[in-house]
């Protein structure tokens, strides 16, 4: 195991939600029987029937028209029957589905669910301590990078890092996504440049292995520089490091092949798991999922993929509509983030938001329909959102903005299944497929998720507890930057998605979009911005912390002494009284 990764118990207890549903688990409980006994202190595990029938429900099968009134039969983790004329088997537990709609289990097409505690972006991470720490211990490990064992490449550039080795069920890690009707998620490490190999997991299971549907699915790439002063420390270096590692992997293959053919007289080439892991990427056996939002980020990602003949999938994709023709031509799917930008809390005296930011907020719901019209393949992903009610709400806003409900359902079910090569198992309600179902009172976009079935096991959903780590840094900040050239008032508008920060700086240092922004669970923020001072235009590296409604830290500019910045955003009670109020 990676040294800084909490080792799961040899066999984890059955997931809490399973127990709460008061339905003994069969297949999974059998697999985890010894542990379950140990946990429950019983001498035997129950072997309750696992046959269910939901009757009288509307069924959106995802293939063909919806069945207005029908029955789904689940047996042994699979869909045993579905149809308008299907009868509930005699041995089934019958659920009256009147007023309910049954959808294929929703798939979150890109996430870091189940990966922690380093992953700091899952809701569970906020309540967990570090390694060896008890509940509520200081979050010393939050945001620490995930490491692959015995890698000879630095953390963050380890493509062999396998989500399948990292993922583990946690008490309440899946409450949020389950409440949004999500039964299945693609998950990968949330930080780094080469983020490693993702796994498609079902969001319920006795242990990590039981959850895995497919692994590896894709290599993940994030274009975020290393924190802490090592190379690459900027977006410039990120591209150079990616290129060099891919070139090294190509060379590695050639050397290994030569050695395999004739080792005599040849120095034994060093085994390098990182370069090994890139071989299926270079041979296009597995795709690369590249985090890219703006038009230029997407184009850069596509350019890099083209340079090495990779098979790219764009994740995030906020401005993918502007690259639609190319995405279509190059057959690149987009995993659309449902973490739509939110209107920030802004001081009344903050600068007005740039049109670009307003546009992004207004246009976000229109993206899916535009990609649909352009013939670009897409699925929905969570964009590391922390407020899970946004997931379906924003999918619904995409429907309001022109996507049909069927298309939206497709993007949440069959489309990701197809993109990840599991449409033989997931994505539609068909006999023989995995019994992943999302049950909604009313309609998916506007109704209420009441229950999900994961691998044939019913899970009652519950609203997640408020997540403390959510949007630590987001907001419109009024900031004073103190440099050798004096005090510069600026407005800093920050948007947060997981550990990534975007936004812009306006004011006495000129206006620019920030880049390389990141934030961790304890509120440590980092970003760079282009600033124009008397001597010229420079790159300023901001590092600081957010505490409450105050942000403060230091500013490093090449050739200048260190500066500082301090700022505030309006609290819940609004800002303080105006200074000269009389």
């Amino acid at each position: 195991m990676p040294s800084n990764h909490r080792t799961p118990a040899p066999a984890a207890p059955p997931a809490r939600s399973t127990l709460r549903a008061l339905v003994p688990v069969l297949a999974s409980a059998l697999a985890a029987a010894p542990a379950a006994r140990a946990q429950l202190g019983t001498a035997h595990s129950r072997r309750a029937p696992d046959v269910f029938a939901i009757t009288n429900a509307k069924i959106v099968t995802g293939i063909g028209p919806a069945i207005e009134r029908g029955t789904v039969v689940v047996r042994d983790g699979l869909i045993a029957a579905v149809g308008g004329a299907v009868q509930a088997p005699a041995d089934a537990r019958v659920i009256d589905g009147a007023g309910l709609t049954i959808y294929p289990g929703l798939i979150d097409a890109n996430s870091s669910l189940g990966i922690g505690p380093e992953g700091a972006t899952t809701t569970a991470a906020a309540t967990r301590g570090g390694r060896g720490g008890g509940r509520g211990a200081a979050p010393a490990q939050q945001g620490a990078p995930l490491a692959a064992p015995n890698s000879i490449h630095p953390v963050g550039l380890q493509p062999e890092l396998a989500a399948a080795d990292l993922v583990h069920p946690e008490d309440d890690a899946f409450d949020g996504p389950q409440s949004a009707g999500i039964t299945t998620a693609l998950t990968a490490a949330p930080t780094g440049i080469f983020r490693g190999l993702s796994a498609l997991i079902d969001l319920n299971g006795a242990n990590a292995q039981a959850m895995i549907v497919k692994a590896p699915v894709a290599e993940h790439i994030g274009f975020v520089a290393q924190r802490g002063g090592g190379y690459p420390g900027s977006l410039l270096g990120v591209f150079a490091a990616l290129r060099q590692e891919l070139l090294d992997a190509q060379h590695y293959a050639a050397v290994q092949a030569a050695y395999a053919k004739n080792p005599r007289g040849m120095h034994r080439p060093e085994t390098d798991p990182s370069l090994e892991a890139l071989q299926p990427v270079l041979s296009r056996q597995i795709p690369v999922i590249m985090e890219a939002s703006s038009q230029r980020e997407i184009e850069r990602a596509l350019d890099l993929a083209k340079e090495f003949s990779l098979r790219p999938i764009i994740a995030g994709g906020e401005e993918a509509d502007l690259v639609a023709a190319r995405l279509k031509a190059e057959n690149v799917p987009v995993l659309i983030s449902l973490n739509f930008p939110r209107r920030p809390q802004a001081s009344p005296d903050a600068d007005p938001e740039p049109l670009r930011v307003l546009r992004a907020r207004v246009d976000a719901p229109k993206l899916a329909a535009k990609l649909q019209a352009a013939g670009v393949k897409f699925a929905f992903e969570d964009g590391r959102l922390t407020n899970w009610s946004d997931f379906l709400a924003n999918a619904g806003r995409s429907v309001d903005a022109g996507l049909t409900a069927d298309q939206a359902v497709h993007a949440l079910t069959a489309a990701p299944a197809e993109i990840f090569g599991v449409s033989d198992r997931l994505g539609t309600i068909e006999t023989g497929k995995v019994a992943n179902l999302t049950v909604v009172r009313g309609d998916l976009f506007g109704g209420r998720v009441t229950q999900i079935f994961v691998d044939g096991t019913p899970v009652d959903v519950r609203t997640p507890q408020g997540s403390a780590a959510a949007n630590v840094a987001a907001g419109t900040w009024t900031v004073t930057v103190t440099l050798d050239e004096g005090e510069k008032p600026v407005t800093l508008a920050l948007q947060q998605a997981g550990d990534q920060l975007r936004g812009n700086i306006q004011g006495a240092l000129g206006s620019s979009q920030i880049s390389n922004g990141s934030v961790d669970g304890s509120g440590v923020v980092q970003f760079t911005a282009s600033v124009t001072m008397v001597a010229g235009t420079e790159e300023a590296k901001f590092s600081g912390t957010v505490a409450g409604n105050t942000i403060r830290g230091t500013v490093a500019i090449v050739g200048h002494p260190q500066g500082t910045f301090v700022g505030s955003r309006p609290g819940r009670g609004g800002r303080g009284a105006p200074p000269a109020a009389r």
């Binding site: 690459p232 410039l236 270096g237 806003r397 000129g510 001597a535 050739g559």
Partner: protein, 450 residues
Amino acid sequence: MKSLIALLLPAALAAQQAPPAAARVAPTLIRNATILTVTKGRLENSDLLLENGKIARIGKNLSAPAGAQVIDATGKYVMPGIIDPHSHTMIDAVNEGTLSVTSMVRIRDVLNPTDINIYRQLAGGVTTINVLHGSANTIGGQNAVVKLKWGRDVDEMLFPGAPPGIKFALGENVTQKNSQQVEQATGRPVRYPATRMGQEEVLRDAFTRARDYKATWDDYNARVAKGEKNLVPPERNLELEPLVEVLEGKRFVHAHSYRADEMLMLLEVAKEFGFTVKTLQHGLEGYKIASEIAQAGTGLSTFADEWSYKIEAYDAIPYNTAILMRHGVVATVNSDSDERARRLNIDAAKMMRYGGLTEDEALKTITYNGAVQLGIQDKVGSIEVGKDADVVIWNGDPLSVYSTAQTTFIDGEIFFDVQRDQAMRERMAKERIALEAADRAGRRTSPVVP
């Protein structure tokens, strides 16, 4: 037949095969202007025809081709688009400062075509910029020469055929003497090199390694050429490849430097390794060694009158450009600043005061000489038939503080125009109202999730 092919082609492919944008642009005839050609003097009451992205004709009483837009420029001036040889505009990252040699990084990778400063510079008559890596390390990253085609994709903005370059940096920014407290505060050791001596060593070491790398590949290629089979090619090294290109004279070195001694050091190292430094950037003390710079065949790009902002800038003088030009150095004035880039015409005029440059010489410091320094003088930098139609109409003499750019053309297309700008302001105001309304309306309550 043609229409059948068109039907069979997917739409995107058809779009790719469409003629380049410039060819679709209608010709423009600018009438009765004072034309500052820069290389061929001032032409009064003359016409200029822009066609197919090029300067097609210069003369008097030219006739407008069919479909041409005609601009009456009576009382107005036309000059070549300004070239800024030192810019950090439109990039999402400036420095990869973690290592002393970062030749593997490319400005091309981080260009941001949506930077508003592009537009502001167009409004100051700038059409081409040399986007450089910062000055954090001895050998920085690879540059990008860009035409400021606001609104276009990066690919369309890259200057076609501009020779590649790389940024070097010497002096205080590299030794970090002014920012060492950062290191002390973080407890990190001071980065090597911390002296100008160490900078020489870093250069010598890097080029020595580059020579070996080249030799390794030359050996390999020779063996392949001899017909040897089953050879494993050497590793590719993205750090050393650009330095090999420098050694081969295929990549220009643009070296940030201030003090005369450090500039001489670089020229010596370059001589020893057999390449020519294309430009010294800033080169504030260049005037102290003007003959040596001229002899090395090196150009110099400097500030018009910035000085005294740090120790190594204390002996900077505004006569630098004039002294260098009188010694035969190709000298330019640059901005290094999103702010100053908008008024390089005024900086050029200062060169007439400080050192007595002629009008043409002053204009050259922001046009033709920059083109020479970037190896693009066959395409831009002066108003000559056959060159790119990168020209700017001013409402008066561009060397006057009272004049402003009215219309900026790149490849014959208008990318800034004062009238259009006014219309754009109205559009933006309307868009803001619409967006704010949509933003308010769009915040529908999230469905309740149990």
